[in-house]
């Protein structure tokens, strides 16, 4: 059984296809880096896997089951974070809100629930951090808490939507290392979307590159190539390797850097 399988999946908004006829299979226990320019459909793909967007066509299997919301086996860190900006709520309460958060009743955790939150915070080394108000934590610390929250319910597939955004290279490295460590320790599948390939290079098993409605999945050396990327971008792309880094260029502009600036 694969962690995720898409067969000829098409997702469109108001008749415009964001993903068209995408077929791919992601094995279990892999760390997948998901890349692609703004609007390529990274978030859309994740929300489709979560069962929040219904595809116009095709078949999706998530750990062998059809995609549907409320699947405890899938963990998620959303890209848009409204992080309770109005309140000085401590990290613990923020993380714990996701513990059985869909059930009716008072938000008072059982002993097992509290242990689960402790476990998740411990996994990411955020036990101390969780005592502080969320709005007084740094971007990197916040990612730790979000990761702990996503681990509640012990998911076997983790979808992390751009956890590196607005972090400096040092903290980017910290987050990638932490995710890798958690992924290995728990033996789960991680799909990690990002705007830049280089921070992920040492950690990922495969890359999933999206562009113009299409997807390419495979080892970095198979996907990050002139023909594949030229097809996904619909223009002439050069791939330049320097030591341990890879630069994806359109003419003399580095495409990933370019997008990053747009986003900031």
């Amino acid at each position: 059984m694969s962690a995720l399988s898409l067969q000829q999946v098409t997702v469109s908004f108001a008749g415009r296809a964001v993903l068209s006829d995408v077929t791919l299979e992601i094995g279990q226990g892999l760390f997948i880096g998901m890349l692609g320019p703004n609007g390529a459909g990274k978030t859309t793909l994740m929300r489709t896997v979560l069962g929040l967007i219904r595809p116009a066509g095709g078949r999706i299997r998530v750990l062998g089951e059809p995609a549907s919301s409320g699947n405890a086996a899938v963990g998620y860190i959303p890209q848009l974070r409204s992080l309770a900006g109005n309140m000085r709520l401590r990290g613990w309460d923020f993380v714990a809100s996701a513990c059985n958060g869909h059930r009716w009743g008072l938000p008072i955790l059982s002993r097992a629930g509290r242990q689960e939150v402790h476990w998740a915070l411990d996994m990411v080394g955020a036990t101390e951090l969780a005592r502080r108000p969320l709005m007084e934590t740094s971007g990197g610390e916040r990612q730790r808490l979000l990761l702990a929250q996503a681990l509640l319910g012990r998911p076997r597939l983790l979808l992390l939507d751009e956890p590196l955004i607005s972090l400096d290279p040092h903290h980017q490295h910290g987050v990638v290392t932490l995710v890798k460590q958690v992924q290995q320790e728990l033996g789960i599948t991680v799909i990690f979307s990002a705007h830049e390939l280089n921070p992920l290079l040492g950690a990922i098993d495969q890359v999933l590159y999206l562009g113009r409605g299409q997807a390419a999945l495979g080892k970095v050396d198979e996907v990050i190539t002139k023909p594949v990327l030229s097809r996904l971008y619909g223009s002439n792309i050069d791939v330049i390797r320097m030591k341990n880094r890879i630069f994806v260029m359109a003419g003399d502009v580095e495409v990933e850097k370019e997008e990053h600036c747009h986003h900031a």
């Binding site: 929040l52 919301s69 409320g70 959303p78 992080l83 309770a84 401590r90 809100s97 009743g105 008072l106």
Partner: protein
Amino acid sequence: MLEFDFMQNAFIAGGLVSVLAGVVGFFLVMRGQTFAGHALSHVGFAGATGAALLGLSPMWGLIWVTLLGGVSMGALGERLQGSDIVIGTILSLALGLGMLFLHFFTAYATQATALLFGNVLGVNTDTLWTLAWLGLACLLLLAIMARPLVFASLQPELAEAKGVSLRQVSMLFLAIVALTTAECIQIVGVLLVFTLMVGPAATAQKLTSHLGTGVLLAALLALAEAWLGITLAFYTDWPTSFWITALSSSAYLAVTVLHMLRNRRPVASAA
């Protein structure tokens, strides 16, 4: 002062409503929907004056119209939430309509002041029972939905992925807010609902970062402000609503200053 029936009623009504307002207000602040709460009270004003014009009970007009307003706000969902312009427009339209209804129903002029600024000293036993039952219903509903409410407020996208219906949560919660608003209007009036719903909650969340403690503190602060306000009104003969607003805003101001001082100290010592 408790030898007077009207004072007993005022204390009971003030106690019931303020505890409810404190608790509901905490979640309202957490969701960043305080302006929606403010607008609902104005919608209630149109409801109460409209009902009076039709010869119906103003209180029930107030309750039903705020409830309708709350549920539709929740149903419209994201398109409306956070849209200050839409909410503000509804608010002024409601106030304008209320004015029009009053214009046709001039005998109601003294009642208008009570609606706008509250009249806790005029609460009779019948009203008291209505307040008690409605308040109980609100607290019960809130207890049932509190867990998904907190989840959906703090992490909406994740909550949705885990099977929480954001629209359902929003509609139910705004229904509770609407009923709470209708109750608050009996005490502090349409224009000052903010003072009971938002003031204590905003103060509480500056004092603690614990969720449970915050809710409890908001309820206690609201209760203290309401009872102290009624007491001060009795001895000074100034309006109760004035005293409650004065206490509510002083408390908020005090903790804000305290907070600023506390946050400045480490910076000063580091420099």
